[in-house]
């Protein structure tokens, strides 16, 4: 499997990852090398083999659907990149929000 520059650019867009134009060709080379190495998996007959998504034998437990915490808006917003906006600056646990660039015209 060989990946070209355009494919790398397309995956980068899907991953929301800005890759500078000059890095696309070297990356295509590296990724092609990795996928060429991965190709050896095709030697293995996996017909009728159930895919293994988890190594745990245990059935995932269910829990009661109830609120277990809350009132910690200040903690939730503590690491907001450009600072959070609080509804009531004198009571940060009253709530607030993160800011992002305008998404609607």
């Amino acid at each position: 499997m060989s990946l070209d520059k355009e494919t790398v650019a397309r995956i980068a867009r899907l991953a929301r990852l800005k890759v500078p134009e000059e890095e696309l060709a070297p990356l295509a080379g590296e990724l092609s090398g990795i996928f060429a190495w991965i190709e050896q998996l095709n030697e293995v007959d996996t017909n009728n083999v159930e895919p293994m998504s988890s190594v745990s034998d245990v059935t995932l437990p269910m829990r009661a659907d109830k609120v277990t915490d809350g009132g910690i808006a200040a903690k939730v917003l503590a690491n907001a990149p450009d600072g959070a906006v609080y509804i009531d600056p004198s009571d940060r646990n009253a709530g607030g929000f993160f800011t992002v660039p305008k998404v609607v015209e």
Partner: protein, 490 residues
């Protein structure tokens, strides 16, 4: 009495119990070592004030007769564990300055047992790497050097800072995480003990996620007994991690104190004899088997036919999970933000600037193998191979109790060697990844030195949730190998 920093965890606990030293004195002695060896770059964040405060509280608890299992023991924590109020970076620019508002379960368990944090250790970015060279905060230097060669060597990875800190006697123990070998390989490179528990033994809650079906926290120490003590404190069921096993925690330390392996069947998987492994490591592996045999174990040759496919299958599964897990770093709620003209550009700019080269590479691999039209050919196929690998181990464990293999194909290499070709770098984990894919516990024990004077490790792999047998075998190996070498100058 020996210097406090030369003591093992078990010896420190005894000295503290006998009031030969206070927890504050123990913390200060180790903090002085952090100062002395700062050039190794083993730590991203040192927490001396917190350490002294925790040590003081520990002394107070001991005075009241409330000493825990690790009361007053100073530990270093891989900077992948969220620590409340202390910066947690995953060695990534995208998380620089992130201060968690909560404590990971594993570290909370350690503090509950009385341990003292001296700092957060360096690692490969998001635990992706085998050399510690992908850290945004620079590589870590291995305390060990080749005889007559002053070049800096890597400590292995991804838990390189945690391993180097223990090997340099800055701390008697530390935490790591192991996704494909990130505890066992650096333990081997640094001449210490490192244990990856069974998947589900230690809670992943509050540990920055890389590949959720593989990630597992575990301990580093200089002895098998110390490793067992740390594991005992770290383990336990946690309702906040749905994959955490609802099992009681056995007395791991007791298992480690019992190196009686008479009659134990030790499997030697023939597929681990692969080209590219150093001859010295192959010889050490045979010697390791002889040592266990002399201690009363029976060697059994076993076959794990899908061994060679574990590594390429891992490089589908792990990047796929990484690309999903790392989608959360979008510049909106925490971490780095690089502005853009609209929201999509903000995401792209933030992630492009915040992730390093190896992380970007793995996100791209993961996104590709999960993309429409390729999912079955790659991801489903890799999961089917994972099932076959797990089946191989299950069949092997019908004939033996533990497996003995090398930990890594080479000793520690120099920074810059093996860096050009990603596949060559990935091959470092060829002996550790199969057990990771099957979720099995594994431990690396230092077993000898190579001709350059560098430490080499042997790996033991155990049955699921049978760390006790694993620790017994490891203790027997430790006793027979009698590894007492120290890195010169440390």
């Amino acid at each position: 009495m020996a210097a406090l920093t030369d003591l093992t965890i078990a010896q420190l606990s005894a000295a503290l119990a006998k009031k030969e030293a206070s927890a504050v004195e123990v913390a200060d002695a180790h903090l002085a070592k952090l100062d002395e060896h700062r050039a190794l770059n083993a730590f991203i964040t040192e927490t001396p004030d917190k350490a002294r405060e925790m040590a003081k509280a520990s002394d107070a608890r001991r005075a009241k007769g409330e000493a825990g299992l690790l009361e007053g023991v100073p530990l270093a924590i891989k900077d992948l564990f969220c620590t409340e109020g202390v910066q947690t970076t995953a060695a990534s620019k995208i998380l620089e300055g992130f201060v968690p508002q909560y404590e990971s379960t594993v570290t909370a368990n350690l503090w509950k047992s009385g341990a003292v944090m001296v700092g957060k250790t360096n690692l490969d970015e998001f635990a992706m790497g085998s050399s510690n060279m992908t850290s945004h905060f620079g590589g870590v230097e291995n305390p060990w050097k080749r005889k007559g060669d002053n070049r800096k060597l890597v400590p292995g990875g991804s838990s390189g800072g945690s391993a180097a800190a223990v090997a340099a006697y800055m701390v008697p123990g530390s935490t790591g995480t192991d996704t494909g070998g990130s505890i066992r390989q650096p333990a081997a490179f640094c001449g210490i003990v490192g244990l990856k528990p069974t998947y589900g033994r230690c809670s992943r809650w509050g540990v920055v996620a890389f590949a959720s079906s593989l990630d597992q926290p575990g301990p580093f120490a200089r002895t098998v007994e110390d490793t067992a003590l740390l594991l005992q404190a770290m383990s336990g069921h946690d309702p906040k991690d749905s994959t955490s096993a609802p099992l009681p925690v056995p007395d791991f330390a007791a298992a480690a104190r019992n190196p009686d392996i008479r009659g134990m069947k030790v499997g030697i998987p023939k597929e681990y004899r692969v080209d590219g492994t150093s001859e010295e490591i192959v010889a050490l592996w045979s010697k390791g088997m002889e040592m266990l045999k002399a201690a009363g174990a029976d060697p059994v040759e076993v076959s794990l036919p899908h061994t060679k496919y574990a590594l390429p299958a891992y490089y589908i599964v792990a990047p796929a999970e990484c690309s999903s897990n790392l989608a959360r770093y979008d510049g909106v709620r925490f971490g780095l933000r690089v502005p853009g003209k609209d929201l999509t550009e903000l995401y792209e700019n933030t992630r492009g600037a915040g992730f390093g080269k190896e992380t970007r590479r793995r996100i791209l691999i993961g996104t590709y193998v999960l993309s429409a039209g390729y999912y079955d050919a790659y991801y489903t196929k890799a999961q089917q191979i994972r099932a076959l690998i797990a089946r191989d181990f299950k069949q092997a464990f019908e004939k033996c109790d533990v497996l003995l293999t090398p930990t890594a194909p080479t000793a520690a290499f120099a920074a810059g060697e093996q860096m050009d070709d990603p596949v060559a770098m990935y091959l470092n984990d060829m002996f550790t990844i199969p057990a990771s894919m099957a979720g099995l516990p594994g431990i690396s024990v230092p077993a000898g030195l190579d001709k350059d004077g560098l430490p080499l490790g042997l790996q033991l792999i155990g049955r699921s949730f049978d760390e006790e047998t694993l620790l017994r075998a490891a203790a027997a190996m430790e006793k027979a190998a009698d590894f007492s070498a120290r890195a010169a100058g440390y």
